[in-house]
């Protein structure tokens, strides 16, 4: 009896291993959390320096249209970020809006219209599109899209519209593949029920499949927007990088990311110019948090419906 008692009361080798594994995964999780918090803290700290040490008012930063950090006016550098903020939002919204019909159409092709051939051809195409590095997109944009814009609309060809077309191709696979997931998660039984009631395939898609998949499709769209908002290199190559208000879609403009990538290497840490760029990074961070929050909200509302 004592032997059994002892063997039950002392931890065995496998239970020790189990505990060690648990600690190991906790450690990994913890260090990633620390990294994320450190990034947040650092960007916030640096980003706020514009307002604390350089005495720029927040409203001037968000609504000012003059971006010239090396020039000071009445004691504070000229850092009006509105042109970049407007440029980023404009490009994001236009590219996503352009991509939505193509993404939903492609996804429906793969799930409902011609599931076999649709998936066989389109799946590899989508995966390929995801895998192409963004510099290649930017390069193609620079050699194909920009000259095309120049020929059609005149001017230099650089601008929001060129950026929109490049980003459209880049967010398309993201939105499409997530829409496919949303559509395939609509139970087959809904489709059968609809068909058995005398609905045509189009009516079934429109009234049942798309309707049931709406939360998932919205999530896909927000994901696409997040990707578009954060894309730097390809946009920077075609947008023109002029820190001017985007009054025209075909005039050179800039986005938060493009100003960051062009500017960050040319400034010295701790200067007003550098601080201003960190503030732009802070806006980017806040926006990606907003997109994340939106995704969670949509997903939660969608799951309540089920």
């Amino acid at each position: 009896m004592d032997k059994i008692r002892a063997s039950i009361l002392t931890p065995s080798r496998s239970s020790k291993l189990e505990r060690r594994g648990k600690w190991l995964s906790l450690l990994c999780l913890g260090s990633i959390c620390i990294v994320v918090i450190a990034i947040f803290g650092f960007i916030t700290y640096r980003g706020l320096a514009t307002f604390t040490t350089d005495h720029v008012s927040l409203s001037k930063f968000l609504t000012g249209t003059d971006w010239n950090p090396s020039v000071s006016k009445s004691g504070a550098p000229l850092v009006g970020a509105l042109p970049m903020i407007a440029g980023s939002f404009l490009i994001t919204i236009l590219a996503t809006a352009l991509a939505i019909p193509f993404a939903i159409g492609t996804a429906l092709m793969m799930t409902d219209v011609t599931p076999k051939t649709g998936t066989r051809i389109l799946q590899p195409v989508l995966e390929l599109l995801v895998g192409i590095p963004s510099v290649v997109y930017g390069f193609v944009g620079l050699t194909v899209v920009v000259p095309a814009m120049r020929n059609i609309f005149g001017g230099s060809g650089f601008g929001i519209l060129s950026g929109t077309f490049v980003l459209f191709v880049m967010v398309l696979p993201t939105i499409t593949s997530m829409t496919v997931d949303a559509l395939t998660s609509v139970p087959k039984s809904f489709r059968y029920a609809s068909l058995a009631l005398g609905a045509t395939r189009w009516q079934t898609i429109y009234k049942v499949v798309l309707r049931s998949a709406t939360p998932g499709i919205l999530t896909a769209i927000v994901f696409g927007m997040a990707r578009a908002f954060g894309e730097a290199l390809a946009v920077q190559m075609v947008v023109g990088n002029a820190t001017l208000m985007p009054y025209s879609l075909v005039a050179p403009a800039s986005t938060l990311t493009s100003v960051l990538t062009t500017g960050i290497g040319n400034t010295v840490m701790g200067t007003a110019q550098n601080d201003a760029l960190w503030s732009l990074a802070l806006i980017l961070l806040i926006m990606s948090l907003t997109f994340n929050l939106a995704i969670h909200l949509i997903a939660n509302r969608g799951s309540l419906k089920r």
């Binding site: 039984s189 059968y192 609809s194 009516q203 049931s212 419906k305």
Partner: protein
């Protein structure tokens, strides 16, 4: 003698090389309940889905034979599947209401058929829900999501949804197998009331259920129709040994 609303002759169905139905001859009288019984995989559900052409959804299915609904060939080239399915409604094994309000579920078939008139929809919804014996339970929450109801209630919503388009025939594919006994009995009562206006064909695994509600019963085994007749005859005095073995629970 009652009118035969649906006749099938020598119905064969194969998935690729596998023949699942080996020539089924069966006829259905108007305003009767017919139960299709048999062990799992005997082809009774497959046969049921031939009647409203739901098997068209599956790749590689070949169907031959003659299926006639009101003397019209169901598989004729000029037959409009969409119209056919409005005449021959179907209720599935798993309750499958759409993730919409109860009201939207019930009037779904009418809306896709182009009915826009609100008072007409209201009337049809009320009539269908009453026929499906669920009106009293849901009349105060028609705008609530149908998925919030219990399984039995959901299934009766599905029956109401099928009734709202006023079909001639209702096909039921094991309508109560996913439900508790109490809900099953409620559905049975509903079906007995419905046969006044509709012809009902139901697949069931539950032999007691077949004996309680069906006027006629057909016994399927491995893709063959072994025997069909009045429920009384099948249960009390079957002609074939297999039928009597199945009824008495020796296999199945």
């Amino acid at each position: 003698m009652a009118k035969q609303i649906l006749t099938t002759k020598n119905v064969r169905l194969s998935y690729g090389d596998f023949e699942a139905l080996h020539g089924i001859d069966l006829a259905f009288d108007e305003n009767e309940i017919t139960a299709l019984i048999g062990p799992s995989g005997c082809g009774k559900s497959t046969y049921l889905r031939c009647i409203n052409r739901m098997n068209d959804q599956i790749d590689g299915v070949k169907i031959s034979g003659e299926l006639k609904f009101n003397d019209t060939d169901i598989y004729a080239e000029q037959t409009d599947v969409v119209e056919l399915r409005k005449q021959i409604g179907m209720v599935f094994q798993q309750p499958n209401p759409f993730p919409m309000s109860i009201y939207d579920n019930v009037v779904f078939g009418l809306r896709i058929a182009g009915v826009r008139d609100k008072s007409m929809l209201d009337e049809a919804a009320q009539a269908a829900l009453k026929q499906a014996a669920i009106w009293d339970e849901v009349k105060n929450k028609l705008d609530q999501n149908a998925l919030a109801l219990s399984g039995g209630q959901q299934q009766r919503i599905c029956i109401a949804r099928a009734l709202a388009v006023s079909p001639n025939i209702i096909l039921l594919d094991e309508p109560t197998s996913a439900l508790d006994p109490h809900s099953s009995r409620q559905i049975e009562t509903t079906l007995l009331q419905l046969k006044e206006h509709y012809t009902i064909i139901t697949v069931t695994h539950n032999l007691q259920q077949a004996s309680r509600i069906a006027d006629r019963t057909a016994f399927f085994l491995q893709g063959d129709l072994i025997e069909a007749g009045t429920t009384k005859q099948i249960f009390m005095n079957p002609e074939h040994q297999e039928t009597s073995d199945f009824i008495t629970g020796i296999f199945g």
